[in-house]
Amino acid sequence: MATPQPPETLEADRGLAAVGAGLDALDAPPQDHRRSAGQRFLHTAVPPIVAFALLVGAWQALWASAIWPEFQLPAPLAVWDTVWTTVRSGDAGEILWTSVSRAVFGFAIAVVIATPLGLLVAKVRVVRAAIGSLLTGLQSLPSVAWVPAAILWFGLTPSAIYFVVLMGSVPSIANGLVSGIDQIPPLLPRVGQALGAGRLSSARHILLPAALPGYLAGLKQGWAFSWRSLMAAEIIATSPQLGLGLGQFLHNGQSLNDISMVIAAIFLILLVGIGIELLLFRPLERAVLRARGLTGAL
């Protein structure tokens, strides 16, 4: 078959290459150009800043009208003072660190447990039939409900807190992975099989990457659940040997009848949630979707 080609074949070959190159140039989808940094800032950062400013303005106006007593509705500046004092004294850093490190560690364990669990539920029919609906049910069970049981089983220890965090986030992450796998076009695993992928390498090279958008959505929700569960656990399970986290800080505010402290704590909890979303999940999601050409939502 490797016969030397006559000149007219070579000529035709060159013509074919030219037509092919022309088609490629004509048919390739146009590249979308990105907006400049200034424009991006204008479109993404300005609207939330304006909304926040309006909110604070309305709050200030409500406070100034003095409908509610001061111990129920503090002035924005009073709350800011409380936040600033705790930040200045270094307490804020310590409180944030206690809570965030717990949440991150709990979340990491949850990922390690939920990933194989999700794979099993998605790919093994018996496992799905057995615990699929349990997993979905657990997702809608408020994790605060586990706090009393956790305290009875583990006492007022960090284990109790981690248990509640895990019960909150594992179902979300596993379910996210399951729905991610369910939405893979069936042709892709077949192609993987045709290319020589066994069960394990198919999971590693085809299923997990193909399910990544769904998995990421599950991780995001799992993080939100682990953060919430942690706050619930910290508010209820307060004891000196557990250290001072954001939840305890909030609890102390209530005990001291200090509404500024309560709102400051809520503000910090919210800040962590928004921060993790903006610094971690948003860029990750953006990168994953952009790489697949799914830029519609961004």
């Binding site: 078959m1 490629d24 076009p185 042709l187 020589g196 193909a210």
Partner: protein, 265 residues
């Protein structure tokens, strides 16, 4: 032992694929659907065979059996090639991988080292004239380019993973059916060129008589429900009036096979 120059070439012995009495039924009992019934087919190493048939002739079932994605109900399939590669109507590239990483995927699954597989993948991409587009993602490529990346990936899976010297086998399931006429025309010519350069045997499924005669060395007509081999034509090197005549003859046979179903039902 005397050395003779005219050693008989055992071409009929070392077939790339031999199917004998292959039967495939889906389901059990009275509801079973017979997709293939007693299919005998031999493909020589490096041969280009086109399987032609109307809908329901079990073409895709046949390819799945040869590819080892499915097992025959009875009969046997013998392969002397490396792992057969399959190309589908859709390119089915992994959307999260760049073109070159898609081509690398089968080599990676076969356990090749990083440098070796990158070199091999780039070589195959140049073969399908996409040497420059290796860093692009599937969504940045046109339909024809995607299908060429899929061809390079299929070649990687049948050539790259084999030991040196084992011939490759490429199974193609209507790979150009979803493309526009001009692109299809160019890709058909590209496929023939690639086939000449790689010595790979190709089993090409299509329902387009013209395409089958243009590409193949041999055209095999299958009947529908169940699929059986009806007739074969050698169409290698046909041109001009001969080609037109053969196309008409095969089309007439294909019509006969299809109209037979109208009478039966």
């Amino acid at each position: 032992m005397t050395a003779t120059l005219e050693a008989p070439t055992p071409s009929h012995v070392d077939a790339a694929v031999t199917l004998s009495g292959v039967r495939k039924a889906f389901g059990h009992g009275p509801n079973a659907v017979l997709a293939l019934d007693g299919v005998d087919l031999t493909v020589a190493p490096g041969e280009f065979v086109c399987l032609l048939g109307a809908s329901g002739c079990g073409k895709s079932t046949l390819l799945n059996l040869v590819a080892g994605l499915d097992a025959p109900t009875s009969g046997s399939i013998a392969l002397t090639t490396s792992r057969p590669a399959v190309m589908f109507q859709e390119a089915a590239l992994m959307p999260w991988l760049t073109a070159v990483r898609n081509v690398e995927l089968p080599l990676r699954l076969a356990g090749l080292k990083r440098g070796a597989r990158r070199a091999k993948a780039n070589e195959l991409l140049s073969l399908v004239r996409l040497g420059e587009a290796g860093g692009k993602r599937p969504h940045e490529l046109s339909g024809g380019m995607r299908q060429r990346v899929a061809l390079a990936r299929a070649l990687a899976s049948t050539l790259g993973s084999a030991e040196e010297g084992t011939p490759g086998l490429l199974l193609m399931d209507e790979p150009f059916a979803a493309l526009d006429a001009i692109t299809r025309d160019v890709l058909q010519a590209e496929l023939v060129r690639v086939w000449r350069e790689t010595d790979t045997a190709i089993v090409f499924v299509t329902h387009d008589v013209r395409e089958a005669v243009r590409l193949g060395q041999r055209v095999v007509l299958l009947s529908s429900r169940p699929g059986r081999v009806v007739r074969e034509w050698g169409v290698d090197g046909l041109a001009g009036a001969d080609e037109t005549e053969t196309i008409e003859e095969i089309t007439a046979h294909l019509r006969e096979v299809i109209s037979g179903h109208a009478a039966a039902s």
